[in-house]
Structure formats: structure tokens, C-alpha cells
């Protein structure tokens, strides 16, 4: 064998790691801001796909007994639309916003687990891509609720249903990992002085969102796993002919499904609670009540699932209990709405686009909340359940609620993410089109439901005024679509030519406005000590005090800390 050679001492220096650039810098990144942007761009693409599916459905329903699409295609459209909006847009869009702004708002340099964070995003993308790949084969067609036995192998043999299961698993895993990450970050990485009572309300909302995801997502994961084994491995969990139960699916699905509703709307509440005080130039009214209401809603949200099953064969005691718990959850929700209005009260409201979307949100969400009381009253629900009244209700809370707050967040935080302002003119145009389009589309759907039209039907006879009402709804949906398009144009344009924003264009209250726009990779060179729920107000006051004589009322006031950070 080779003789032993004594090692020669040598000086070695590993090469400094080259900074990744171009697209590799994106796919290898663990920076929470870049991951956040990838989340937002990806989910917005899915939002557009889901929107196109919605418009195709509205086109089909624009005329009675229309033959534009076949029944199979129509079923595929609403299945893809619902699944996309819930699992590939609203939930992950909020995850994206939280990814970007949670560390900035609590004064951290990144998330607690940066690589896990990247994994969350790639799982989401994988789930979405596999799901959408099914459109080249057989898309799923059992609805986003995929009730068993319809979703079982003998009634839905196509692989699309399996793509749907795959999507639920991957996006669910993505959400759970993300939620654990958010929770760990909030619990451990807050700036000095940021006690729970000084946590921004958006962060309170994300904390609650995370807890809800950690409790609710495993339930749907279990439910679809049982469906998967029923479909392929001969089990009979949902098969009544062999001792299984179709109601088990409904219970498991809605035990996840109702907390999911709050997963989709609480972060929106948080966004509104951040934006209103900034543009009313007034502190949030009842900080503690809003934080407490958020937690109360999350808890009660686990007790109301069976209100989706009021027409299923369930005992009367359950009907009564669930009606009461659903009523109770309206109390903290109503309290929040009143707190927001009280925040505007006696303020000096600047009508910038983010505020418009927030005000639109309050107006629309209130309608959705009120129609929810009708649906929670179970004898009334016996008439309204599974009709267009429910479609209207869920879009008022989910589109009026979540989507309007997402648009508010885009307009509010775009300057921070890109360093440039979005155009106010296009923003206002987009808001007006979306608001008017939304009301035109969905107000009339209450009446369509009251007139007896069930949801998820590809054609209807022209009984009464159904043609007219559906046509109004279809026209509205295209106005709504146009409004979304205007924001897309606005974003595409402003990224390049928008007015340079500076670190704090809105004179915000929270720490993300302390650092330059866009923030450097380490977020902050100096992390300030937090002394209240509105740290930026304190910092601006301090800057003003030290530079006496300077004009502190101008919007371009730059905090002293921030000027040193951006290098």
C-alpha cells in the first residue's frame, strides 16, 4: 500500500461565498422578504387564474339554458375556482404578507427558521403546479368541498380528484410549517420593549391565524388521507355500504372549513387595524378590545362548524348549539367593526387608496356579517342553504372581507417593498371599479338565491326574473375583473416609473417604516427600543425634538435612524 505521507501544513482560505444573482438568487433565497415577494407574486397569478374561471362561469350563467360549456366543464370550473381562491390565494397571500412584514414590524432581522420558510413556499408552489397540471388531463369536479361519496373513486374516478388531494396535502403542510415559523418568530424575536400589549394588531392577527392553522389543517389532512385510502387502497371510511359514513367527511371537512374562514379573514382584520389609524391620523380605538376579539373569534370559530350542515341529518341539540355559537361569534366581529368606525370618528381622514379599500371592506364585510346572521338561524338556513344567497354571503365575507384588505395591503405596503409609490389615480379607479363591480355582481345574488336557484348548477330555466338577475351579476363580474386589471397595470407600471417613496411615505406607526424602502437584507442596522404600540410615532417625535426647527409635518420626514441604515 501507499506509504504514509506526513501532511504538509498549508494555509488555505475558503473563497468568500459569491453573492447569488439573477434568478438563482431567488430560488436559493432564505431571505424572508424575497420569499414574501415570491409568495405574493405566485398567489396573485393563481388569483388571476381563479378569476378567469369565475368569469367563465358567469358567462355560462349570463343566459338561461346556455350551452357555452358542458356540465362537466362547469363543475370543473367551480371546483378549480373555489379551491384556487381558498388554498392558493387567500391563505398563502396572507402568509406572503406576513412573511414580508412580520419580521419588519416586530424589529427582527429574519424569520425564526429561514430555510423552513423557503420550504413552505416551494411546497405551496408544488401543490399549485400539480393541481393546475390536472387541467391538461381531467380536472377535479366534485366542488372545493369534495363531499364524499361523490369524491370517492366510484363516482369521481378521474385523477383530478387525486390532484386535489395532493394540493390539500402540500398546501396544508406549507401552511403548517409557515404557521409554526410565524409563531416562533413572534414569540422569540420581538424588538426590545415590544411586550404583548405593544404588538401591532396585524401581528396579533397573524399569531391567531397561525394557531388556527396549527389546529385546523391537520384535520383536513386526515380527512383527505382517509379519502385517498378510500379511493385507492380499499378502505371504506366514507362508504355507507361498508359501514362508513358520508357525514364523517362533512364533519371533518367543516371542522377544518370553519376555522379556515377565520384563517382567511383575521389577517385582513389586522391589516385594516394597521391602515385605518395611519390615514385617520388617530390611534386605533380600543387596541385591547380588538386583540381580545381576535382571540375570541379564533376560539369560537372551532365551535360553529356544523352550521354548514344545518340540512344534514343531525340531532336538534346540535342545531341549537351551533346556532347559538354562530350568534356568539357575531359579537366580537361586530365589536371590531364598531371599533374601526370609532377609529375614523373625529380623525382627519386622508382618502388614499389603502384607506378606500379599508372603508370598502368595512361596508362590504358588514353586509356579509349580517347575511351570516340569517344563515346562522337554522330554520331560515333550511331555505337559504346551498343557494345563491350563500354564494353572495361567502363572497361578501371572503371577497369583500379578505380580497379588499389584500388590495389595501398591496397599496399600503407596495412603497415599502419596491421603494416606489403606486399611482393614486389608477388606485382610485381600481377601487371604484372593484367596489361597484362587486356590489353589482353579488347583491343581486341574494335575490337569485331567495328565488330558489341552487348554487353549482350549470344551467337554469328562466323562471321569474332569473335571466335578468343573472345577467346583472355577469355584467358586474366583468366590471370587477376590470378593476383587478387596473391594479395589475398599476403595479406593472409603478415598479419602474412610480414616484420614489422614501422610507416612510404614509407616516406609519409601525417599525417597517423605520428602515429604507426596500429594506436592506438585514432589515435594520440598529433595532430601536419599543416604548408603545406606535413606535414610529415616538421615533418621529424624538427626531423632531433633536432637530428643533426642522419641519416635522412634511411627509418626507426621514427618521434619523433610517438614514444610516440603508448602506
Amino acid at each position: 500500500m501507499a506509504t504514509y505521507v506526513a501532511p504538509i501544513p498549508q494555509v488555505s482560505a475558503s473563497r468568500a461565498q459569491r453573492q447569488a444573482s439573477g434568478w438563482t438568487s431567488w430560488i436559493t433565497t432564505t431571505d424572508h422578504k424575497r420569499i414574501g415577494i415570491m409568495y405574493m407574486v405566485t398567489t396573485f397569478v393563481f388569483f388571476c387564474l381563479g378569476g378567469v374561471e369565475a368569469l367563465m362561469m358567469r358567462l355560462q350563467l349570463g343566459a338561461p339554458n346556455n350551452t357555452l360549456v358542458t356540465p362537466a366543464v362547469y363543475n370543473q370550473l367551480f371546483t378549480m375556482h373555489g379551491t384556487t381562491m381558498v388554498f392558493l390565494f387567500v391563505v398563502p397571500m396572507f402568509a406572503g404578507l406576513a412573511n414580508y412584514f412580520l419580521p419588519l414590524m416586530i424589529g427582527a432581522r429574519d424569520m425564526a427558521f429561514p430555510r423552513l420558510n423557503a420550504l413552505s413556499f416551494w411546497l405551496l408552489l408544488a401543490g399549485g403546479v400539480v393541481f393546475y397540471a390536472s387541467i391538461f388531463f381531467n380536472p377535479p369536479e366534485a366542488g372545493w368541498t369534495s363531499y364524499a361519496p361523490l369524491s370517492n373513486a366510484n363516482f369521481s374516478p378521474s385523477g383530478g380528484q387525486d390532484a386535489w388531494i395532493y394540493l390539500i396535502h402540500l398546501t396544508g403542510l406549507s401552511s403548517i410549517l409557515g404557521a409554526i415559523n410565524f409563531y416562533a418568530t413572534i414569540a422569540n424575536m420581538r424588538a426590545r420593549g415590544m411586550s404583548w400589549g405593544r404588538l401591532p394588531l396585524f401581528i396579533w392577527a397573524i399569531l391567531t391565524y397561525s394557531v388556527l392553522i396549527i389546529f385546523a389543517m391537520p384535520v383536513i389532512a386526515a380527512a383527505v388521507t382517509l379519502l385517498l385510502t378510500d379511493r385507492h387502497f380499499g378502505t371504506h371510511f366514507y362508504d355507507p355500504a361498508n359501514g362508513g359514513s358520508p357525514l364523517l367527511w362533512q364533519n371533518l371537512f367543516w371542522f377544518f372549513g370553519h376555522p379556515e374562514v377565520y384563517i382567511m379573514v383575521l389577517p385582513g382584520f389586522g391589516i385594516v387595524s394597521e391602515i385605518l389609524p395611519v390615514f385617520a391620523r388617530k390611534p386605533i380605538f380600543g387596541y385591547k378590545a380588538i386583540a381580545a376579539a381576535t382571540v375570541a373569534i379564533a376560539f369560537l370559530g372551532f365551535l360553529t362548524w356544523a352550521h354548514h350542515m344545518f340540512t344534514a341529518p343531525i340531532p336538534e341539540a346540535i342545531l341549537v348549539f351551533v346556532m347559538l355559537s354562530s350568534y356568539f361569534i357575531a359579537v366580537p366581529t361586530g365589536v371590531k367593526i364598531l371599533n374601526w368606525i370609532a377609529t375614523l370618528w373625529r380623525g382627519t381622514i386622508e382618502f388614499k387608496t389603502p384607506l378606500l379599500f379599508c372603508a370598502g371592506f368595512i361596508a362590504l364585510f358588514l353586509i356579509g356579517g349580517i347575511s351570516g346572521v340569517f344563515l346562522a338561524t337554522f330554520p331560515v338556513d333550511w331555505q337559504l342553504n346551498e343557494t345563491y344567497f350563500v354564494v353572495a354571503h361567502l363572497h361578501f365575507v371572503l371577497m369583500g372581507g379578505s380580497v379588499f384588505t389584500i388590495f389595501a395591503a398591496i397599496y399600503y405596503w407596495f412603497p415599502k417593498m419596491t421603494g416606489r409609490m403606486l399611482s393614486e389615480g389608477l388606485g382610485r379607479l381600481s377601487f371604484v371599479l372593484m367596489f361597484v363591480g362587486f356590489l353589482t355582481t353579488f347583491l343581486i345574488q341574494h335575490v337569485i338565491g331567495l328565488d330558489g336557484m341552487p348554487r353549482r348548477i350549470y344551467e337554469y330555466d328562466n323562471v321569474g326574473n332569473l335571466h335578468l338577475y343573472n345577467l346583472i351579476s355577469t355584467v358586474g363580474s366583468f366590471i370587477l375583473g376590470l378593476g383587478v386589471l387596473v391594479t395589475i397595470v398599476n403595479v406593472a407600471r409603478s415598479v419602474k416609473v412610480g414616484v420614489v417613496a422614501g422610507p416612510d411615505p404614509w407616516k406609519g406607526n409601525t417599525l417597517e417604516w423605520f428602515t429604507p424602502s426596500p429594506p436592506p437584507q438585514n432589515n435594520f442596522d440598529v433595532i430601536p427600543v419599543v416604548r408603545s404600540a406606535e413606535p414610529m410615532k415616538d421615533i418621529r417625535r424624538e427626531v423632531q425634538r433633536r432637530t428643533t426647527g426642522a419641519d416635522a409635518t412634511g411627509t418626507a420626514t426621514v427618521p434619523s435612524g433610517a438614514t444610516q441604515v440603508g448602506v
Binding site: P71, A72, N75, E141, G143, Y147, P149, L150, F155, P240, A241, G244, P246, L247, A280, R281, K282, F285, G286, A289, T311, A312, P313, P315, V320, M323, Y327, F328, A330, V331, G334, V335, I341, A342, L344, R346, G347, T348, I349, F351, I362, A363, L366, I370, S371, V373, F374, T377, P379, V380, D381, Q383, L384, E386, G452, P454, R456, I457, Y458, E459
Partner: protein, 279 residues
Amino acid sequence: MGHLLSTTLAFFTPLSGGSPNANEIDSLYKIVLVVALVVFVAVEGALVYALVRFRKRRGAVPAQIRGNTRLEVGWTVGAAVILIALAVITFVKLPAIQNPPNSGPNGDQLAGSGRVLYASSERKLPPNGKALNITVIGRQFIWQYVYPGANEPDGLGAPYSYEAMVVPTNTTVTLDIVASDVVHSWWIPELGGKFQAVPGYHNYTWFKIPKPGIYRGQCAVLCGRGHARMLATVRAVPPAQFDEWLAKQKREISEANAAAQAARAKLNGQTGAGQVENP
């Protein structure tokens, strides 16, 4: 004017008018609607007022208020009180929606006498225990109705019909709703609420139609590609006419069965019965 009012009201309320339970649901709905309108006007009004009145003006100074405990406790309690009131009203209204009344004096007098095939703790019967019980079977993509009055003691040979249900007027009809394949939902809007037909489960409802007429509805839970065409009608006819129809249905079914048997026997005679295995 009265017509305009009723048309406007119909615009904002669910369909009703076929059966007392539908009417009771409609009146409960109207109570909720009134409360909802008051809340809607008050809150949207406050929002719009705040947006207009407190928009940024020269010289205006925002009031730095962080909350008001008494006000906040007040509106929390206020919201709770409204909802408790609605809950109480619902419970008051509930019996009239859920519990079927006795059949009218000019209803089908045979109804209920030994016609209940099996009892359940969750099925509600009229006070006198007499109702015409029809089993509603949901299947892709048609409704089947099985009426009492089986020809044979084991319950076989019961008269049935598809899609169009025929019932006597002024008679309490209880429905036993089941499904044979996937989940469906029975719904005739003017005859009361909808109830899921779930394979392996029984679900129950009732109606009582005072005057002859045709009431339309359709399956309300997605059940596959034919969901939109899974229609149902209920035709209410005077009791005498119903008895006639039921007898005719029974006769036709047994005639058809007999004809089928004869045809089968003839076919077997030609091809050789029991020889299928060894052609």
C-alpha cells in the same frame, strides 16, 4: 300600491305559500330582516357619516382617543342582546316550523292508519299520529317517491313514482328522505326548507298543502354532472283524486310487473331458462 309592496317584499324574502312550515320560515326570516335592516342602516350610516364628516380639512386636528371602556362594553352588550332576542324568537317560532299539524277535515282520511312503516325518535308526527308518509329516494339524477300501500305484507310492491310526486291536499305528508348513491338535497322552496339525502341516513320533513297546485324544486347539493337537471315537482290534488291516482299507479305497476314476468317466462321458454351458464 299593495301589489307593488308585495312584489318588493317578495324580492327580499324566500319563496313560501305552499305549506305552513314554509310560511313560518318566511315570517321568521322577515323578523330577522327587520332587525338586520336596522343594524345595517345604523352601522353603514355611521361609517358613511364618519368618512364624510371627518375627512381631512385645513386646520382640523385629529382627536387622540384610544378607547372608551363604557362605550365598548355598551356596544358589546348591545350586540349580544340583539342576538339573544333573535335566538328567543327563533325558539318561539321553531315548533310551528318543525312539528307537523293534524290533517284537515277535508284531507285524506286514510292517511296515517297503519301507513307508517317504521318509527324513529327524530321523525316528527302530527299530534294524532296520522300522516301520509312518503319515502323520498335521491339517486343520480332523479328523485324517486315510494308511497304506502304495499301489495304484499313484507312491504314489497309499494306504489312509486319518479320526479313528479302526487299528494292529497289538506293532508299532512311526512317525508322520509334517503339516498342510494351520493349526497342529494330535497328542496321544494314553497313547501319549506331543504334536507339532505345522505346514503346510510334518514332525514325527515313534512308539508301540508291547502290548495291544489304544482310546486317545483330541484336537488340542492352537488351530486355530479346531472345535478342541474335533477328536478322535482309536487302536484297537490284533492284526496279523492289522489286515491284514484294511487290505485291506478298500483294497478299499472302490478300489471307492468306481471307483463314483465310473462315476457321473461316467454323469453326463458325460447332460449332455455337456466342455460345461460352453458351456452
